[in-house]
Amino acid sequence: MQQLWAALFTIAVGIAGAALYFWGSNWLLDRLLPARAAERETASRNIARAGLIRPWLFLGPALLALGLYLVYPVFASIWLSFHDRNGQAFVGLANYRWLIGDAGFRESLFNNFLWLLVVPAASTFLGLLAATLTDRISWGNIAKSLIFMPMAISFVGAAVIWKFVYDYRGEGSEQIGILNAVIVALGGAPQAWIAVPFWNNFFLMVILIWIQTGFAMVILSAALRGIPEETIEAAVLDGASGIQIFFRIMVPQIWGTIAVVWTTITITVLKVFDIVLAMTNGQWNSNVLANLMFDWMFRGGGDFGRGATIALVIMALVVPIMVWNIRNARAEMRGR
């Protein structure tokens, strides 16, 4: 309990400090460059100068935090990737050469590509399906809410939930995992799903798809509602069938949104770590890059050089999406 009070106290101090900074620095600026100066010329010059400085006062703390926590680490990681496990001795390309030859890395990279191939596609498709279906019924909002719910559950919580679904008991004894129970009821043999190499990847992916479908659904549903009615009415008058309307008229109009959903989920997939750690910890050939990186970060006291190199690979996979996002944002700003 004491800890919570300490936390509340720190929040109060932190907010007071931040407020004091913003208020104080602005006050100081107004004091140093008063807008109501005796001479008109000084006054207008002061206003202009203050206008140059003030944005940076507003931006200051944010830039500091962004710089320290997101920009600096990119360069530090590049530097670390050329150094040994403690970041002391320069080792050239040794970490990269190790990476290429490492079986664990190749396995993780392969699995990551599987994840990238399946999860964004499946989530977007299921999300689109759920959005189209729920928009047509009276209790659609309740259905949406329930499909969206896994979004609030942590990856670890989801892992526990699904581990229970996949639970395996030896053949002959009663299955308490629902998947195996269904398989047995249908006359099949129970499987230890998450321990079957290669296929277990897909059982782990199901968890992320389960979480992300709601996200895709919410956004695509909004986009579908934004489609102008006239285009659909015109298609109906021309005698198009429901499926034709959907694929030829509606989907092309929301391509932009589909792309955004797809890329957002792709980013999530690249960072997925908790699910694999909690379900298999990379055993049975199910490792992914983020978990491999975490592993190297702490294995045997931690190998920062190799860890940073793996992080850079993840970063490199993100860069195309980053560039695409920035280009979109800039195009949109010019449009305003």
Binding site: I15, F164, E174, A311
Partner: protein, 381 residues
């Protein structure tokens, strides 16, 4: 557009949505039901049978002579194998090789003239020519139909014994400040990026958009190094709550700035211009006009950030460390998966303790969450 079609198609839509919803809620429901079940029952039957009686193979050891009576030259020991009183015995036996050799009511002949019978209600009678005192109590194997039992014991257990109560406080300690701190910082920055003209503004906005997708993994090692050296230089523990609050602040800022700027840009220009004409400074415009008007966007971001920091495992493991007294709920769950992997009553109750708060936030503030998602993803919307 398809309104008015009360056709089989409409039914198909209803049915498929129902199936969709079922598929999406079933896994969570399973764990929820299990968390309230008796731990012996979880281990032997699926949660979907929770409402029906479960059949269990159990062993009871008769007391070694306590309470035996001498009746007509034989020592007779009576009692019940069903200690909780509820249930129905469907078979019994006296050896582990044939635990269900006899039907209830039958009399089994053991060696040395000992006889055993178990009734359907669990009452047993053991009788023999010699006293049972001194020997080890006779084992009675039986199969019983145990009626469903629901209990909150699992929750009481995990909150005290498994250290979940402690972790709950830790998660609160991490998540609340990590949600509040970035809001103020981001709001000022977003205002500057939305309404203050200065050179390099569009470049900064582009940079924020770029930083949105920088993977966390990138920052962890450099961050760990900084924290360690700062801790060493000033002589304090580098694994501190302040460290994790600031880390979450840094990681949450791009989204916060992006969301808030997008919202603030959409505020009516006239309001701000008339305030400026009336002599208000930027600081006043921001605190008196923009901040109150931006409440929906602030709420959206706050929910995001709270869910994200509460559910985070990676940052907490790296920055706060894996020591027992600083484990957050997600970290505790991972530990339990390792150490108590088969104890579903512990895992289920623990998982629900950890997801209760986010679910509460989710269902009570879904409106803001959806609005935030749309603002964050559908550009130009």
């Amino acid at each position: 557009m398809l309104s008015g079609t009360r056709s089989p198609l409409a039914w198909a839509v209803h049915l498929s949505v129902a199936f969709f919803v079922l598929l999406w809620t079933l896994p969570t429901l399973g764990l929820l039901v299990s968390s309230f079940r008796d731990k012996d029952q979880i281990a032997v039957s699926g949660w979907w049978t929770a409402l029906s009686a479960s059949s269990q193979n159990l062993v009871f050891r008769a007391p070694a002579g306590d309470g035996e009576d001498l009746v007509a030259g034989r020592y007779v020991l009576t009692g019940t194998v069903l200690e909780d009183g509820a249930g129905r015995v469907s078979a019994f036996g006296f050896s582990s090789r044939e635990p269900a050799a006899f039907a209830p009511g039958e009399t089994a002949e053991l060696k040395d003239g000992v006889t055993l019978s178990v009734a359907e209600d669990g009452a047993f009678t053991l009788s023999g020519p010699e006293s049972f005192a001194g020997a080890r109590g006779q084992r009675i194997f039986y199969t019983a139909e145990i009626p469903p039992r629901f209990t909150t014991e699992n929750y009481a257990n995990v909150l005290t014994a498994a250290g979940l109560g402690r972790s709950f406080l830790n998660s609160m300690t991490v998540a609340v400040p990590a949600t509040v701190i970035p809001i103020l910082i981001a709001a000022f920055a977003a205002y500057a990026l939305a309404w203050m003209p200065f050179p390099g503004r569009s470049l900064l906005i582009a940079a924020v958009v770029g930083l949105l997708v920088v993977p966390l993994q990138m920052s962890l090692i450099p961050l760990l190094k900084i924290y360690n050296s700062v801790g060493q230089a000033f002589g304090f523990d580098p694994k501190s709550y302040i460290g994790i609050w600031l880390a979450h602040t840094g990681f949450g800022l791009p989204l916060a700035i992006y969301l808030l700027r997008n919202y603030m840009v959409g505020l009516p220009r006239e309001v701000m211009e008339s305030a400026r004409v009336d002599g208000a400074t930027d600081f006043q415009i921001f605190t008196r006009i923009v901040l109150p008007l931006s409440f929906p966007a602030l709420a959206s971001f706050a929910i995001f950030q709270f869910l994200w920091t509460w559910n985070d495992l990676l940052v907490a493991l790296v920055v706060l460390g894996p020591q027992d007294d600083k484990l957050v709920l997600t970290g505790r769950l991972v530990n339990l998966l390792g150490s108590r992997g088969g104890d579903w009553e512990i895992l289920a109750a623990s998982a629900f303790v950890s997801i209760a708060v986010p679910l509460l936030v989710f269902f009570s503030m879904q409106k803001f969450l959806v609005r935030g998602l749309l603002a964050g993803s559908v550009k130009g919307g």
